[in-house]
Amino acid sequence: MRYVNSSNVKGRPVSQVNAQRGLSSRQETVPPAGRRQLSDMRIVQLFILPTIILLILMNIFPLIYSLFLSFTNYSVISSDPPVWVGLENYTHILSDPDFWHNFATTGTYALLSVSLQTIVGFALAMLLRSKFTGSGIITTLVLVPMMLSPIVVAVFWRLIFNPSFGILNPILGFTDINTSPEWLGDPALALWAIVIVDVWQWSPFVMLLCLAGLSAIPEYLYEAAAIDRASAWFQFRRITLPQVMPLLLIAVLFRTIEAFKQFDLVQGLTFGGPGDATETVSVELYRLAFQGQFETGLSSALAYIVLVVIIAISNLYIRALNRLREG
């Protein structure tokens, strides 16, 4: 054990191994011969180029095209060419109180569903981290909700939420359908209903990434802690959490991005209703872009506003992630 420690981490506390490795070892490696240096460059190019080329082919055109359209008055189904209107679309959206309402709804939804998913997913991972008879099957079964098409999930949960012939209310103990909650028709409950379904479907995603992170934690860290008689809480806080954090943050990053873009579930469950109680930005975006309106210019502007917000939030996460990595 001591031997492994010293060979890998040059005497630093083990919990910092992973974090430090990236930077330290590069400097320590003796620069290889010139030929290999060149071939490394080739490898980098060969390995990265396909990804970049494909992404540029598939995404740069749409991105630039919609950026251009966001400054125009244009409808895709119209034969009139786009008319340049400058920032008008942006000022129109930003001065519309409905937009801020939609944005607040989206933020509330994202905060609730991502934080609940993180907690539930992490707890599930802690439950399933140590192997027991049938743990493989249980893990696969827990993953099943994630494997369903979001649009199908929404359709089915509508059936489940239905106070007349759904099974949720009877399971929760509401047997009289006249007094039981009307999940999707009650402005106070509808957003929670969407959050419940999202947490149900995507906690397994967080769980899987956490499991991967947990299984990467070297046993000897716990052994060392056990020898030091560290409390369970201490072990969790000083070993488990920091070690899982990088993958957990990736999971949270992707779930946050998805939550801000969430459309399928809201469309299938409430479509923004009742009234505008669950109207997220993406529902409004869909209404503008399609639904007989085809306000392509305006919807592109709204999409870019959403994009900027997501980029800002992602940047915060990535900074946190890098801080973790670099210790």
């Binding site: 396909p50 119209s78 939420f161 006249n178 999707l184 409430t270 009234g275 639904q291 007989g292």
Partner: protein
């Protein structure tokens, strides 16, 4: 290496596909018709198979789920695509499709062949004419449809119910003649303890559901979405229409729990599970209710058409679609499409269309005793098609609809504000859209 060859392969594939596309311009062997994914489209495929047997030209009815149907067709228009030769499109699309030139003008064709006179005038107006009253036609009415009612005869004709109803309301329990009577009956049959509710009404927020349902009393109470000069203010929000909205909300309070975002599918659901004494629905969805395997009450299910408003006016919200020809296909394909419609519009084919379950708009077939007798709801259907009325079909209908949908749903389901607030907000919102589009100063 293999990723390079993949890219080359992909590019090659692209090339082959682009070169391979424009082949076989003359000698049409195949026609593509687009429609939404539902049973009538399957019936149309049957008709198409008959056409293939008669002429050797294969007919493909390509189906897209309702939820994405309009988006799909509209993007095809945007690309000036030729994926379909004909499209069975909603009446509301006419404005957009015609002002942008996506549909072939069929006026000359429908007039010279005499097909124009074989269908009921109302269906030709709503499914084919744009702008209204212009005499220019762009579609052949294919699937006629409108809102009607299904009700439980066993409940209505039960002697105890009849006596109790008359004692409570002072007139006999029967098919309602007015919206007030409809409301009384709905109230009467709402017995939560027995798991029975009086009525099912549309409440869906997605696209046009709640608007379609509310339009029935709205028009009957003298409302309209705008007048001849496109004024919405003072036309949408009158005391009468506010009363109509209050009535609609009251009807919703007699509906089974859970019908807070309900449209045609949910209506049939609460009817076949015995929760609702009567439901509104499009006639296209009534065949299921006549089928004992789907509806346990099939034998005792009756149908009636829309009741009248305070001044005796009756209106039914229009559904249904007409078939139009894509303006972007070449002349040979256009001619082949005209040939198909000519054949499809013959009385003989329309009779078999009706026999399959399609809702024909052909006058002779509608009036034939066979048609009236073949299904229990056909009589109500034939009557309804004489007083149908549609939502706006101007190119901006989508924006108008979005305004109406949101405020109706917020008031009726969400319980926000008053009926007056809702109607005022709708009038103002519509006025804004119409003003921005340049209809009103």
């Amino acid at each position: 290496m293999h990723k390079k060859s993949f890219l080359i392969l992909a590019l090659l594939g692209l090339l082959v596909l682009t070169l391979g596309a424009p082949a076989g311009a003359q000698g049409i062997t195949e026609l593509n018709i687009w429609w939404a994914e539902w049973d009538p489209a399957n019936y149309l495929q049957q008709i198409g198979n008959d056409y293939e047997a008669a002429t050797g030209i294969k007919v493909n009815v390509v189906q897209t789920p309702w939820g994405g149907y309009f988006d799909r067709v509209a993007t095809e228009w945007a690309a000036q695509g030729t994926a379909f030769d004909m499209v069975v499109g909603d009446s509301q699309w006419l404005g957009q499709a015609i002002t942008e030139g996506h549909y072939v003008d069929m006026t000359e064709f429908l007039t010279s062949t005499g097909i124009k006179d074989t269908v009921t005038p109302a269906t030709l107006t709503y499914y084919g004419e744009y702008p209204s009253g212009s005499g220019s036609y762009y579609a052949y009415p294919t699937e006629g449809d409108a809102n009607g009612w299904a009700y439980r005869k066993d409940l209505f004709e039960n002697p105890d119910n009849m006596a109790a109803f008359e004692a409570e309301f002072g007139y006999p329990l029967a098919i309602p003649q007015t919206w007030e009577q409809l409301r009384d009956i709905a109230k009467f049959f709402t017995r939560p303890d027995e798991g029975l509710y009086g009525i099912g009404v549309y409440t869906q927020i997605d696209y046009d559901g709640i608007t379609m349902g509310f339009q029935n009393p709205f028009f009957a109470y003298g409302g309209d979405w705008y007048d001849a000069e496109f004024n919405a203010l003072g036309v949408v929000d009158t005391p009468e229409t506010i009363a109509a909205l209050e009535l609609y909300k009251e009807l919703y309070s007699y509906a089974p729990p859970g019908t807070n975002n309900a449209f045609f599918a949910e209506m049939n659901d609460v009817f076949v599970n015995g929760q609702a004494a009567m439901i509104m629905n499009y006639f296209a969805f009534f065949p299921a209710l006549a089928n004992p395997e789907i509806n346990p009450f099939a034998e005792s299910t009756g149908y009636f058409s829309m009741p009248a408003g305070p001044s005796g006016e009756r209106y039914a919200a229009l559904g249904g679609q007409g078939i139009s020809i894509n303006a972007y296909i070449d002349d040979a394909r256009k001619q082949a499409s005209f040939d198909f419609i000519t054949w499809f519009a013959t009385q003989e084919v329309q009779a078999s269309w009706a026999a399959l379950g399609g809702y024909t708009c052909n006058i002779a077939v509608l009036e034939s005793p066979e048609f009236l007798a073949v299904a229990p709801f056909n009589a109500a259907f034939a009557e309804t098609m004489t007083f149908v009325k549609d939502f706006s079909n101007i190119p901006e209908f989508g924006q108008l609809l979005a305004v109406v949908q949101q405020y109706l749903h917020a008031y009726v389901v969400g319980g926000e504000g008053t009926a007056e607030d809702a109607m005022t907000s709708i009038a103002e919102g519509m006025d804004e859209v119409l003003a921005e589009a340049g209809y009103v100063g």
